[in-house]
Symmetry: C2
Subunit: 349 residues, 2 copies
């Protein structure tokens, strides 16, 4: 029973963390049995299992990730390209999503790997990680600019799930989750109509923004359903405070006092216009923003809130299915946002 080679040193010398062999020797079983104790416990006889697990706990053994990955091919890492804030994606938004993603993947034994790439090349960074087998799958989030990553990843048969629908190709055959922006603005518009306003204006983004146009349709649908005319009430402007402030003034001149916006930034611009005219927000005029950012929470701006936590949970669910070899669902999952009503759109009591 010559103790397996492993140099001349006394086996299990304190250099480095314990390994399978260390545990095996202490428990008086083979390496493979220890491995099975962790990965296929049902194969072991109960008393053996207990003995092995006890030793594992005693020495504080944790399998070496690199070795496991090398042999099994799975890194238990999910890659996410971490971009600076972009249109439709406030930093804080990403933060909420990311946090739940990390928390949820933890439960499946996965971790999140962040990477970055050349801002001008939406594909940069993916290739390296894929070829070096560093990650098991990707989560892609910036689908507003078309989805070159999706096509690229699919071509390479790399598993991934998208947060954001494939605007270019609604029937794309990959798994995705998105939030129904249109439903959000519909909620906001209905809310303002219920508050007694009949001419509700829209402040949105340029026509080139798919997300912006989607949100606009919600406003339009709510107005139409109420039998109201929208002509002259929908404005497309750039996403900054001052543009929104000026646009609001323009509409206020025409006695339009209710606004639904494509972003909180624009909502803040409208609020500013109210103040400049001495109008009491929520009383003389009303506005609803989009994204429920910190700014909205702190200034009392009503806002449409995306269920990002739920999105992250669903993304992880799809990820698990994809990794298990399941085909992508027939259609993507579209979640409904909620409306957070604050003082900017509701009369006190």
């Amino acid at each position: 029973m010559t103790t397996t080679g492993r140099s001349g040193l006394p086996t299990g010398s304190p250099a480095g963390p314990p390994t399978l062999t260390t545990v095996a020797e202490l428990a008086g079983v083979s390496r493979q049995t220890v491995s099975n104790a962790l990965n296929n416990p049902e194969l072991l006889r109960p008393d053996t299992l207990e003995r092995v697990l006890q030793v594992i706990a005693d020495v504080g053994y944790t399998p070496n990730r690199a070795a496991r990955q090398l042999r099994s091919g799975s890194s238990h890492l999910i890659g996410l390209r971490f971009e600076p804030a972009q249109e439709g994606t406030t930093n804080a938004l990403m933060d909420r999503f990311l946090h739940t993603l990390v928390e949820t993947t933890r439960q499946t034994g996965h971790h999140v790997l962040l990477f970055s790439g050349d801002p001008d090349d939406p594909l940069d960074g993916y290739d390296d990680l894929l070829r070096s087998t560093a990650v098991d799958a990707f989560v892609i989030t910036d689908t507003y600019s078309g989805t070159p990553q999706a096509a690229w990843l699919q071509e390479r048969e790399a598993p991934f799930v998208a947060f954001g629908r494939p605007w270019d190709d609604p029937h794309a055959s990959h798994a995705w989750v998105d939030v129904d922006g249109s439903a959000g603005t519909r909620l906001a518009t209905q809310h303002l109509l219920e508050q007694g306003y009949d001419r509700v204006a829209w402040l949105g983004w340029e026509k080139s923004s798919r997300i912006g146009e989607d949100r606009r349709t919600g406003w339009k649908a709510a107005m139409n359903r109420a039998g109201l005319d929208t002509s002259g009430l929908g404005l497309r402007i750039t996403d900054n405070l001052d543009a929104a402030r000026l646009a609001a003034h323009e509409l206020l001149d025409r006695r339009v006092v209710a606004f639904v916006c494509a972003s909180d930034t624009q909502g803040m611009g409208v609020l500013r216009a109210f103040v400049e005219r001495g109008m009491r927000s929520g009383v003389d005029a009303a506005v609803v923003g989009f994204d429920d950012s910190l700014a909205a929470q702190v200034t009392g701006l009503s806002s449409v809130r995306q269920p990002l936590e739920q999105v992250a949970v669903e993304v992880v669910g799809l990820l698990r299915a994809t990794l298990a070899g399941a085909p992508a669902p027939e259609r993507g999952l579209v979640l409904t946002p909620s409306l957070v009503v604050r003082t900017s759109s509701q009369r006190p009591d």
Copy 2:
């Protein structure tokens, strides 16, 4: 020259990405030579090097991370426990820091691994990653609650760098970077004094907050240097908008119209109080917040801005040094924040 075993299949069959052996055969050299071409190019004859690199580029070879890590012991991953927002750390703040961290580590060939843990146990999660040799080092960020992680990691000789100073032990022997909160509030206070206010109030956090007390000292120092009395001007309240609003009213009753706050949230509360009294912010009264959050940017609240990008760069620099075996610097690195002046504290023109 029997082609090395590798099953009976034609060598380099398209299954899976190319490996060292694939490249070696195509280039007509040994595995080791290919490895050297990447890791120690100076060992190769120039023409051999070129030939090998050409093949590498042709077949799109990237070393397998798991295998490399298993052999060399380095994962090229940096672990970061990703927490929900906490005192003194707005989500958006973390976002700026994290983004630069990802970007900077990219240049050193590292990636950022996010993990989470039991919110009640600041140590949870570290142990697993350490024992499974999943990460090369950690970045710890939540040092405001004491630094149990730092002590714990040091005990295990795990490399790490902290963002945030070790309040409990200023001479702790690990590498850290922090922002000089005191300098920030000093800047803010001086600015208000220059604007002609002489009774500048402080709205800060409870005494138990080290960060809060640090920021308070900056205000006090600036006032003292100007020969001004601070009695009755410093208030410690909870970090929410309404507490700040009420505190501001209390001070405004006493004709105190200039405020330096420990957070933007409090700053927003003060702004609200101005509005409620019909005071024009920046004209009749002034306030400066802390952290330059989106809310501040959008509401025109002057604020102290932390140089988070610079912090991240310095953290990575220290990380590299630590991983290279350098001892921790004698003292931590303290960076100076800047003041972003907006309409809340400066008269127009």
